[in-house]
Amino acid sequence: MISRSARVILALTAAAVGPVWGQDEDTPSALDILEDILLVSGTGVGEPNDVVRDRETIDTLRAALGSPETLNRVVDTFLTTDSGWQFLKDVNFEFMTFQADDIEQPGLGFSFDYQTQLKNHDLACETDGESCIRGLGLSFDMSGTFAFDKENNPQDLITAKLDFDYFQSTGGRARVDADRVLELEEAFVSASTPEEGEAAVLAIEGLVRPSLTKQFYYSVGGDVSFESNQQFTTKQTLYGVHLALDFKDWAGTSAWTTFNFLDYPFAALRALTGYDCVTRADGNRDCFQPSGTSWPTLLFRSSRVKPDDDDPRSLAGDSSEFTRMDFEASFRTPVARLADDELYITVNYRFYAENDPSPLVEAAELDQFEYYTVTIGGNRGMYLSYSDGKLPLAFADDQVVELGFRTHL
């Protein structure tokens, strides 16, 4: 006989996958089945008050079981190394809810993202007498988002890409007395209390971080990719070249940090919350500290796009191939410290523009797409995420608000 907890897990799993299998309105939902299980096996059969209590329990369960947090916990129970489902961890499989602006009920779905390096090759590198890191790479990635109700997927874009690139990282070297670092490391190892250990870690940070040189990273490459909506009814193939740029002033002491104007509003917030005040030589406290590591990472791509007959452009009357310029920026900076956690703001912004679009495409407003996600939160506890805009292959703008709670750690 199947235990009650096992039946709950089975019903819950069915609740998660049922809609994919095309459940119709007349078929009892998995949650209805769960309700029957609980009413029959519950303690309150024949006792009105207990039935009411069970009904309240069921309503509570309905809300809890439909949440992505619960589903992700159930999935986690399957992701042990010997379960055969470990690959779900490698593909970053995650249940999620969508609350699009034109849909009343939040929708359930999942996202996935798989990346792997197929080949890499080391190249000798030296710039200004200092060694750097240079190499070639061949990688494959596939990512996307599925909503069980297809009308409720604001991020309706699935991509698969084969990517060949050349990369170089210059700087980011630690100009430090390594013997002194190893002495402090010994103090960390031999610390008898967490406080002593933390003091040693702070001493190592204080010694090594200011010695780090500025780092400049770039990669250039070519890729072949395939884009589709979640039903694969609209598709397109892309051949492109891309350039990625990343800069970090790890020590945070150069003019690059002083003039990181993009971080000024957040530095002001940090000053208000007393995040990283320092006492200067003259005794005054300086709380306005722009971050040298909060420069945005930038990605540029130019692609030749070969659309499928059913893509939005074709439906607007233009099925010709076209060139598309893509831009993406990624930014993260802390704004406050709460107990032992850090509150941060992140922004991911994407812009897509067709070169020399036809009047038909312009009239249908399919020549430019913009999409961004802003998140504020900590590594633990509540976070708030807001997305707005439209991705290529999407037919309408969608605003998505996601309020979540991280339960890890």
């Binding site: 890191i133 990688s139 630690a174 670092v181 250990g197 990343d246 032992d340 922004v347 750690l409």
Partner: protein, 115 residues
Amino acid sequence: MTWSKNNLAHRRTFLTLRILNQTKKQFDAAATQEMSQLAFTVPGDSATMRRDKARSLASTMHNVFVDAFKTDLESGVTKTAAINSMVDVLVVETATVEQLADSADVSYEFLGEEL
């Protein structure tokens, strides 16, 4: 491998992440911290963006291992291979700091490891 200060790869990966401001956790709590919680992660990043950011971070991690902790690569392992091995963990949002450290352990011969 059990998370331990006595494991050179574990403690130096942890210390390097602290030096590079990727985590604020103390050693014991850092073991299960996921890549999605490190400072380089931004929700909504495309796969290409995340891989480039991970490779940039792994390049500096390599430099800190070498410069601050006198670490050598294992025989037959190239710089790019070691970095990409860490990148393969960094891009998995649910991978943990312990898994990252174990990945580094395969590529690097940490000073004192032979003792």
